[in-house]
């Protein structure tokens, strides 16, 4: 490990956001999940949460981005329990979902502890998850097609979260708890 590399790891950890995360509700294509992980890293997300079946999880771990990732992807068996856990921990859960009561994705305050919930490629966010979410957010679309690829939707929503957090100075000083910071630094420096 060169000193430059070590400094780079620290600079990235200095910008990690312990209170911003992604939840995927049965996003099953490995390449979509990989692109979401890559985008989460870019927004400073340290840990994300996936409900995904065994076969799809295996395929995802086999992809280049899945096998060695800078974001900790936690697997969960049940979307309902997962959302309730996040809410109990103080997160607002924003379901990316087109609905009568959806608000524009730029409207929420992303400087609050926030979990962005993304749905499956075909089925979208499940009904149980939609019912539990604190709000439904939607990216306006001007064309014929009714939805974005899920990883593109993740990128657009996270770019807004990042914009708000940058404006609020949330990338300007370390925000991870010292113990978490040191644990991740150790893992990254000793792969």
């Amino acid at each position: 490990m060169t000193p430059e590399r070590y400094a780079r790891l620290r600079a990235v950890l200095d910008r990690r956001q312990p209170d911003l995360t992604i939840i995927t509700d049965n996003v099953h294509k490995g390449r979509n999940l990989s692109a979401i992980v890559r985008t989460a890293d870019a927004a400073g997300i340290a840990e994300m949460h996936a409900v995904i079946d065994d076969k799809d999880y295996k395929a995802f771990r086999g992809t280049a981005m899945g096998s060695h990732s800078w974001v900790d992807v936690q697997r969960h068996p049940n979307i309902t329990t997962l959302i309730q856990q996040q809410q109990a921990a103080g997160y607002q859960v924003l379901a990316a979902h087109l609905d009568a009561d959806s608000v524009d994705y730029r409207q929420p305050d992303y400087t609050r502890p926030t979990a962005v919930l993304l749905g499956a490629e075909k089925r979208g966010v499940s009904a149980e998850a939609c019912a539990l979410a604190d709000a439904h957010i939607t990216i306006p679309m001007m064309g014929m097609v009714q939805s974005y690829n899920v990883s593109v939707a993740a990128g657009i929503i996270l770019s807004e979260a990042q914009r708000q957090r940058a404006e609020a100075g949330m990338y300007d000083q370390p925000r991870l708890a010292p113990a978490v910071y040191q644990r991740i630094l150790f893992e990254w420096a000793h792969p």
Copy 2:
């Protein structure tokens, strides 16, 4: 064709932006190009431009989104000529590219006639194309990974273009030339 369907086609054409486009410089994976086309449709782009070799173009046309698309994808043999043509037609060409002189992607005025230039998965935007572009734009990244998937980058940049154009009222009344409007309406209504 139901009256509702016909009205929907017209509503989409009413929002098409004749002076906003995408140029892809050897983006070769069919699924990336498909996701870019889907995202272009969402921003109201009517026509985009691709420099792509025969084999990759065939694979792209074989994908679900490639075979029937709402966006006209024009193929070009040469990136230099293509960029010069666009500039001669009055477009600013913005290369999505990380460079010393890059500006934040939110800085340009996207209400001007604009072509967003995207680079290949591995190689990025070619040196010739970078040299010709009017500006280099970059999406700030806070993490370890150095670039987004190209279709995610397209989504983030086009969401900003769309935001600026929506604010300027550019989706509020038809902007296609009447002859173009009628031609596309006829094609869409008689597939």
